[in-house]
Symmetry: C2
Subunit: 155 residues, 2 copies
DNA sequence: GCTTGTTAGTTACAAAAACAACCATTACCA
DNA sequence: TGGTAATGGTTGTTTTTGTAACTAACAAGC
């Protein structure tokens, strides 16, 4: 790597959004290979699947709100997951615009496999950091990302 | 938000790659509006510009390696930055495949403006965290993202 | 009931990214 | 040398995404 040093009082390598991107890129590229190679899933599809696996029945809008995923992305992911028979759609009895989404047994199996893999992957990723560092990192990231503190938040 | 609770021992909201993504997404979407509205830059273009502003002369490959940006993305970003006269290309004397890239005065001006904006943005983003938290966050992120410790690293 | 406004979700089209194939050069090495 | 591999960079094609506009259903006020 050839380059001329050119120091000014700003270092891209310490610029937070840059660091966040690099770290996010690195960690999701690695994990992406797994769900893509193993099940042919796209990033959004994986995210939708995980939401359903974790929370059970949800509507498309619920998923979008929770995961900050745009509704068109959710819509297309749901469509593809449906085609692969990883989820089924159940029309709501009370509102005909709404469909409840729920994983099929096949979808559940994929979810469990990926969830376990994710857990192992995270463990590997965090090897070498102390429990304190990890806890603090996650706390800070949650605040930065605007993630609700815990499982439930009202609309 | 309607949902059935379905607790199993894994929480997507605590899954590190997920948190990283949310935080990265949040922070770069906000900043994206600035460089897009103000200069019509694309994300990759902004990143390339910043690299050049920070390190001075570099080749396309250098930028790709440093920033983990695929070479086709770099190539197209360089092309567009060239069209806008934000950078100029200088053929290498020793290797006719290589071109050195360097910002024009116009490019420098854009860089300085965006850099300063970025600095203010980061300050706002990190308001409410202690200096210690920030330092530790960045240290951890650098390690996760495989970012070289400081400005210079040999090939 | 009927008009107006919202909400859930899909679809169409344009912009951007991923992927692969491709020159032109330079490096390696028998 | 000369032939093969590797490198720097660009271009073409296919996937994904982003943005807007749209349909269908519900809600609210009069």
């Amino acid at each position: 790597m050839t380059e001329t040093a050119k120091i000014e009082g700003f270092d891209l390598l310490r610029f937070l959004p840059y660091l966040l991107n690099q770290a996010a890129e690195e960690s999701s590229l690695t994990f992406q290979k797994i769900y893509k190679d193993r099940y042919g899933l796209l990033r959004t599809e994986w995210r939708v699947l995980f939401h359903l696996g974790m929370f059970g029945e949800m509507t498309a809008t619920d998923i979008g709100t929770r995961g900050k995923i745009h509704k068109t992305k959710v819509s297309r992911a749901v469509y593809r997951l449906g085609q692969r028979r990883y989820l089924k759609r159940m029309p709501s009895e009370t509102d005909r615009r709404v469909e409840w989404l729920v994983l099929t047994p096949a979808g559940e199996a994929v979810y469990r496999d990926l969830r376990d893999t994710a857990e192992r992957y995270e463990t590997a990723l965090l090897e070498g950091f102390t429990a304190d560092e990890v806890a603090q990192l996650k706390r800070v990231l949650r605040r930065l990302g605007g993630t609700p503190d815990s499982g439930n938040s009202p609309k």
